[in-house]
Point group: C2
Chain length 370, copies 2
């Protein structure tokens, strides 16, 4: 896909940034808005009305032109580039997930983002043996031509990054580029951008909160062709990454450990569920090499260039669609069928609700009421 994308103009990039930085606009809503209105600018113009009709309590904050320009300027001064979904520099595998960030802020060598990638994740309180194994695996996968993606955490993540510094490694942040976590890894970031890259979907100044880490984990798995879980306790963050990887159609690998070692409980559990067992780099390479032979398929649902006619729902239609929604996720197809409204009307009502912060969009076109 690299080389096939179309570059945005500076003005378009600014519109994209404003739209994704506005309240209640996540990657899925962004995509729905751009599809519906044919572009970010038209979507921005429609936002206030949509949110009001969706039942927003107050006026939804829309990122101003000035704020977006400030972010672009600050990013530039820090050597950060904003890669937009669909542009040639955007990491090709990440573009395939259905909640790919419209904009990805990247520092370092963009060439690392074009390499085939393997994610390596694991325990922060890893054992010495676990870190040693992670280092060996990362080095060997790097020598085989893979960039290593991880989350910059202590333990396994840091070991995997360090061992793949010479061959290319990619760190995904849960906060903004100026809010490195943990802080003691600022030097690792400096070393990392020499041949690798650091990426974030968050704005500068964003302090990472607990809930940002699971969200960030989808980017770790989404960038990679496969995820290797090295040491993971039961119910650990690494297992979230493994689950997201499976949902995204990525290969899941796990390193076995003694049943008496609690740090192996999660990885052994993944093996029971069918993850591929890894004791050496060849176990990963053998599975991934055939996959890499295939070109990355373009995203099934590219933002369209021509705007479809935007239906205007009546009050009765809107109420009927809202009444069909509840906390259990349902498909948009079901809403169309059960409401008797046109797909365009249902999509518009959902956009309104979305921008009013009243629904959540899930994978597979599912929505639920918040």
């Amino acid at each position: 896909m690299a080389g096939e994308g179309v570059r945005l103009t500076d003005e378009q990039r600014l519109d994209w940034l404003r739209l994704i930085r506005s309240d209640n606009v996540g990657p899925r809503t962004f995509r729905a808005l751009v599809n519906h209105y044919g572009g970010a600018r038209a979507a921005l113009a429609a936002l206030p009305d949509l949110a009001r009709r969706g039942g927003a309590s107050g006026p939804a904050r829309i990122c101003s032109h000035d704020d977006a320009e400030r972010e672009l300027k600050a990013a530039k001064s820090l050597g950060i580039r904003l890669l937009t979904l669909g542009e040639p520099d955007y990491p090709p595998r990440l573009a395939m997930i259905d909640d790919a960030p419209p904009l990805l802020a990247a520092r370092g060598k963009l060439a690392a983002l074009a390499l085939p990638m393997v994610a390596m994740v694991g325990a922060r309180n890893a054992s010495a043996a676990g870190i040693r194994f992670a280092e060996r695996l990362a080095r060997e996968l790097g020598e085989a031509g893979f960039a290593i993606v991880s989350g910059l955490a202590r333990g396994i993540d840091a070991g995997a990054h360090r061992a793949s510094l010479p061959t290319g490694t990619v760190a995904v942040l849960a906060g903004g580029h100026d809010r490195i976590y943990p802080p003691e890894h600022a030097e690792l970031v400096d070393a990392l951008i020499a041949d690798g890259a650091v990426v974030s979907e968050m704005p500068l100044g964003h302090e990472p909160r607990a809930r940002d880490f699971p969200r960030r984990n989808r980017l770790i798995s989404g960038l990679a062709a496969g995820v290797v879980v090295v040491e993971a306790a039961a119910r650990s963050g690494s297992l979230i990454t493994a689950r997201l990887a499976a949902e995204q159609g990525r290969e899941v690998f796990a390193v076995p450990g003694s049943p008496l070692d609690p740090r192996a409980a999660g990885s052994n559990g993944l093996l029971k569920q069918g993850a591929t067992l890894v004791t050496e780099a060849a176990d990963v390479i053998d599975v991934l090499r055939p996959i890499l032979g295939q070109a990355a398929a373009p995203s099934a649902e590219e933002p369209e260039s021509a705007p479809p006619p935007a239906g205007e729902p009546g009050a009765g239609e809107r109420a009927r669609i809202v009444s069909l929604l509840g906390p259990t996720p349902v498909t948009i197809d079901d809403l169309v069928r059960l409401s008797g409204s046109s797909p365009a009307i249902v999509r518009t009502v959902l956009l309104e609700l979305d921008l009013a912060g009243r629904i959540e969009r899930h994978g597979g076109g599912l929505v639920s009421l918040l």
Copy 2:
């Protein structure tokens, strides 16, 4: 199957013992002879002629009536019972393998041999953690109603036996009952026969040699519904047991370990080949319980009671069949088809060659020239 078998008379048991203790008569040849001649006594009478025609260099040693009686008497004085294939006390799963020993010498509580069994095998130089895990697993499987079968070796074997002493454990010897190996486990044998059993297919006085251990391992897997490999280095004896288990249609289980631990290389390798991963007893029980629900199928090729007409091969036929044989195992069906001789003639020539020590019988009815 238990309770359905027919007990042999004392004379028949003596004939069986003489036949299986004669030179060049292994379990497969024993079965072929009894099938062909309709009984052990007729087979004993035919042995000298068969061996001579097969090209034996000297007279093959036939176990004498007196020697067999001496063995029976000595066994009795040591509290050993000789269980014969097809009798109700014979372990039902073991009867299903195609090289089941015609006679199994057993000490201890025969009730243990009627329990569903799980084999546990592993490294002699096991780690403390490995032995601790083996003990826990054996205890829990014992409490779930399984007898634990193992090989009485140091390390994992001894740990598994000791932990299952109260619930029933079965040790399979590579030598005779009066040649316990390793010698320091004589006390473990004494403890074991209180609620469990010790079995051997070898005559009293037989000192176990290196080649007896792989042969013995088929009985460990054959007695059990599944085999758990706890710690096993690459190319270890436990992997032979796992291979035999797979060939016998037994479930193969393996306990994972760190890729940096050489004692886990064999078990991790089994997991890569599809063995079921075990971190707790439930992993074994969940797989085996449905299997145990099914009655053990009777052996496909029971010794027949009525003798078929024994064909008498001519010299030309014998030479043609011998010329078709080589070091690569071939099926008896192929020999019949390619030689143009009747199945009865081919079987007779194979028996002759077998008793002359010139062929080897493999699983699946395959034979090769030695």
